[in-house]
Symmetry: C2
Subunit: 646 residues, 2 copies
């Protein structure tokens, strides 16, 4: 009878045996289950395990390759692209290694720092390429140690292009990718997942196709976990290669590298570098339209879609690797047409989870950084433990100071001129600031006809969820309650709700209403009188730049404002209003007035002095309505405040 059932697990073991009737009456002294909640199994797996699981489940997946940018501005844009393309659900991205560009350095354009940003700030599983020729063992080890320190877990081990034309093997040096694979396994054991390159047509420098297959096998046997191939133009090229690999005993995953042709020039350059030949049937199409970029891209998309379909239909291919050339349109279109692009990605938590292995248990954050998650990650990067289950469990979390407002991954995407158009070339008083806030909320153009699409505290347009509160927010901003963060109350919506849902399906999500704003001391005086009426219902924290702090929070305890109840799980409470962290946040929130806004204007200019005045005299206020099943009372609190003032 027991054999009919699906899962069966033994008392003292966490492994499941399907349909088993394992017995063991011993009590569970050595309980080896995971001691942290696994809302998304993903987070606790290494890349090769994710690949295997997706393959076992019959799930097709894709990955994206990027190269490091040349300039700091391009780096800012690339990070935005990571965020946008990350939303489509790649299994991983990879970042190429440019030996000429000081790839292991701390420059914002280095391969290392771009990969670091992808992992830590964009939450993307990332493979860092690394080449080995013309480098010393110590260099390589140094790079690998740094990668490990930064939370990178995957390396694509490559030989790279030898420096001189007349390259000769060095004795005991890194002459081939296999040397790098061996070195990684020797020095770092099983820490990294290792990827190696496969050449469906054989490496151009190999004696023969067969010899190249043998080299590939060596790389795999030296410890590589999977293979990504060089680009190719015909599906049969890849399928033959894959069969040949299997025939000589290569059993690890082999992922085809897909190159959607995006322009005549880039195709020619790539072909030159890769020493591949473009098939005549492709040349025949492209040559006549070589000056028509759109036509070439359309053709490239068609070609890629049909090739990918054939690969997937073969049943041998489970994932596709895209050479994006750092561009979005073509790859995204191919993926959408293949049905691989996630239109509505399920969020495991209300905020984007960082991919650093140290943060894998993290599941609580203060709500204050909701619109500045990268800043939160930056300021907490030195933490040894991340709050898990309960914020209050983490002892004395100290936030790093935020002084580097211009770190590229924290920087506004918009240049100064654009910001001035949005926030005003010239401010005439506090009211003109109220107007900017109001335009940001409504989406209406400002008096000069420009839409306000970002604010110092919000780099992106209003969240869908905040839209639920739009009318109320507009009203209060017009009158000088300058809102920077808010959420509606939610009393048990399904976890699959498209707007407020998160976590696995079958659950229910809840929120307490939250409102955070800057406002003048006159309004604060009235607000405090009004709040007396709401004493048991509304928790408040009111602070100015000097740290004067007024609160009714009991014992400085955090207040959970977002939580979810899921089948078979403990309760997840991913956002809290934490009185202690609020004081770290207020330093940042006040500084943004100056760093992002006031500094747009000349020193001593009236515009700058207006912002400085607000910075010096306004209060930062947050309000929580604890009575989540009832109608949100915070609007009434604000209404009462205005009434008292009149």
């Amino acid at each position: 009878m027991v054999n009919e059932t699906q899962h069966s697990c033994n008392a003292s073991s966490s492994s499941r045996s399907d349909g088993g009737s394992s017995s063991g009456s011993e009590s569970s002294k050595d309980n080896s289950r995971c001691s942290t909640p696994v809302l998304d199994a993903d987070r606790h797996e290494r890349l090769r395990e994710k690949m295997r699981r997706r393959q076992d489940a019959g799930d097709k997946w894709f990955s994206l390759e990027f190269f490091p940018p040349r300039t700091a501005n391009a780096a800012v844009n690339l990070i935005s692209r990571f965020d946008r393309m990350g939303a489509g659900g790649p299994l991983f991205i990879d970042v190429t290694w440019h030996p000429a560009g000081d790839p292991g350095s701390d420059k914002e354009t280095s391969s290392m720092i771009i990969a670091n940003t992808a992992v830590n700030y964009c939450g993307l599983e990332t493979i860092l390429h690394m080449t080995c020729c013309n480098q010393t063992k110590d260099d390589i080890t140094g790079h690998l140690q740094k990668a490990k320190r930064l939370g990178l877990k995957n390396i694509m081990a490559l030989r790279g292009d030898p420096a001189g034309e007349e390259w000769e093997e060095e004795v005991d040096g890194f002459n081939y990718a296999v040397d790098l694979v061996k070195h990684i396994r020797h020095e770092f054991d099983d820490y990294f997942d290792i990827c190696v390159a496969g050449y469906p047509k054989g490496h151009p420098e190999a004696e023969s196709y067969e010899a190249d297959l043998r080299h590939l096998k060596e790389k795999v046997f030296a410890g590589a976990d999977f293979i990504i191939t060089q680009l190719f133009f015909r599906p049969e090229t890849f399928l033959k290669f894959m069969k040949d690999c299997q025939a000589i005993g290569i059993t690890c995953p082999i992922i085809p590298g897909i190159f959607p042709i995006q322009g005549y020039h880039s195709l020619r350059q790539l072909v030159k570098l890769s020493k591949l030949e473009v098939p005549q049937e492709i040349k025949d199409v492209i040559e006549p339209i070589k000056d028509n970029d759109a036509a070439i891209r359309n053709y490239g998309v068609e070609l890629a879609v049909s090739m990918c379909r054939e690969l997937l239909d073969s049943g041998m291919v489970h994932g596709l690797h895209f050479y994006t050339l750092n561009r979005e349109v073509a790859t995204t279109e191919v993926l959408k047409r293949l049905g691989l692009w996630k239109e509505d990605p399920r969020r495991p938590l209300p905020w984007a989870v960082s991919a650093h292995p140290k943060r894998r248990v993290e599941d609580v954050r203060p709500i204050f950084w909701a619109s500045r998650p990268k800043s939160y990650i930056y300021r907490t990067q030195e933490w040894d433990d991340f709050p898990n289950g309960r914020w209050g469990n983490s002892s004395s979390p100290a936030f790093g100071e935020l002084k580097d407002y211009y770190l590229f991954y924290l920087k506004s995407k918009s240049p100064r001129e654009e910001l001035l158009k949005m926030w005003g070339e010239e401010l005439t008083g506090e009211e003109s600031v109220f107007e900017v806030f109001t335009c940001y909320i409504t989406g209406e153009p400002n008096r000069n006809g420009y839409k306000v699409t970002c604010m110092p505290w919000n780099d992106d347009p209003l969240a869908t969820e905040t839209n639920l509160l739009k009318d109320e927010l507009e009203k209060v901003n017009r009158r000088g309650i300058l809102t920077i963060n808010s959420q509606p109350n939610i009393n048990g919506k399904p976890s699959t709700d498209p707007i407020v849902g998160w976590g696995p399906s079958g659950g229910y999500v809840f929120q307490k209403a939250y409102l955070e704003f800057f406002t003048s001391s006159e309004i604060v005086t009235a607000l405090l009188k009004v709040l007396k009426k709401y004493e048991l219902r509304v928790n408040y924290h009111i602070v100015n730049v000097k740290g004067q702090n007024i609160t009714n929070a009991p014992d400085l305890q955090p207040n959970a404002v977002t939580w979810g109840i899921f089948p078979g799980r403990e309760i997840i409470q991913p956002t809290v209003v934490d009185p202690v962290s609020f004081l770290s946040w207020k330093d940042e929130a006040f500084a943004l007035w100056i760093e992002q806004w006031a500094k747009l204007y000349e020193e001593e200019s009236p515009s700058r002095m207006i912002i400085q005045y607000i910075h010096d005299n306004y209060y930062l206020v947050n309000l929580v309505d604890n009575d989540f099943p009832l109608e949100n009372c915070l609007w009434q609190v604000v209404e009462d405040t205005f009434e008292l003032l009149n």
Copy 2:
């Protein structure tokens, strides 16, 4: 403006300054707030702080004195009395020290073990008396170390009665209580709260009333935190004493000891021991009715009530200490008439919190031990950390084996003869067992006319909450689904709900429906088929005595089944269904069939073999309906199962 507000706290300090406008823009590097949630401030305070807080709040309180019992059976009864009288809400209880009864030993009747049981198993703040004369320093230190190890935090330091008639001071020995006070402070610093005795009429052996007051002052200045007085018969005796104490500079709390006269004999004995004189007006009333116990008790209650009222009305008295003589009726009545007895005590958590300081952060437990909390405490007494916030955070909790089913605090209150009447002198088959379960649920007498008021898994009658499920439970028990634990689903009832509420007011409590039962393998086979239909909604664990275990719990994760949302707090989830702990529980649950039931019958007797058969062949099943906002589906699951069987 800021000065109008109530609470104000500085960035880097957890202390509040009322109405303050302290400033500090430093970010909170040293956050000294309590890192655990304080649902009940009480739990984190020492006794003297609780006393002070109650006094500041104008709350009147009471405490209860007990002496250690003479026999093991009396100990069982005393523990039940602790549970019942604890429900009335004493600030503390105290346990006297009987030098002749080996008071520091591990015997179940020793002062030490009774106090240990009160603290750890009944969750009562407890003072252990300790006398010092005729004892060595090492003895005393040993007792104190043991008390500390057991989690006792309060000592009543007494001299005790010298052994011989001709007592002489020992040089360097413990001659007076003050020596013990000094010793405790010297050896244990501030660990213990220390209480000393005060004599409103002066100690019988003191040279004078004034000399005795001076001795009392010495005790206080040596480190005593508060004073409990010897009994007295007239309120003015106490009030004068208190004024005299204050006049010589004794400022600590002085708690009047109240002795409700409960019988002629006990009064005479006490008077003899205490060398007090009974006032003539009392003698005049009592002598004529000395053979009428009820009349004396009534008079005693009247007298105590009127004396207590006078004391409380004086405004000088905030707490009353009752000499219970281990009896309930008179003291309870006095307290009820004074309005000090808590009729509906608010529960800080759904289960009774242990008073051991090591467990003060504990706020999660598996639901399985809901009706056997003392067994849970016993089996987890060796834990270094207690789960807090999330069960899954505690790594590999190993449960101690439960072999000592006859430990007095785990023992059934009913003797064998009574159990046989309830559970059947002779069983004729599994059906007679079904009948016992059904009678326990319905409260109807069994076929022999006896009510079944306890079961091996439940020492008390059905909980009020379980009554909500009575009809359904009756139906299923009749048919062989032998329920031992259950709770209804709750979708956000106020935390003040008289039946399911717990925690501070202003919150909301939730539950997932839970059902736990023993049943035959035939029913399990059908149940498993039915459960397939409910796969995503219902989590199940099904196990037999051999440890064969069938579950659909994801990754062995715990499932929160009771949780509460409170103003300004993180979420509290005090009960979980934990797959790993369930296997420790099942050993206990199956063993109770044998230890508590089968062993009532002769070996080889048919009755014993029936219970043994159930033990060997039945399964223990638990079911959770994850969809708490919908109607509980577990009854439908059971219904479907019976239908499938027909």
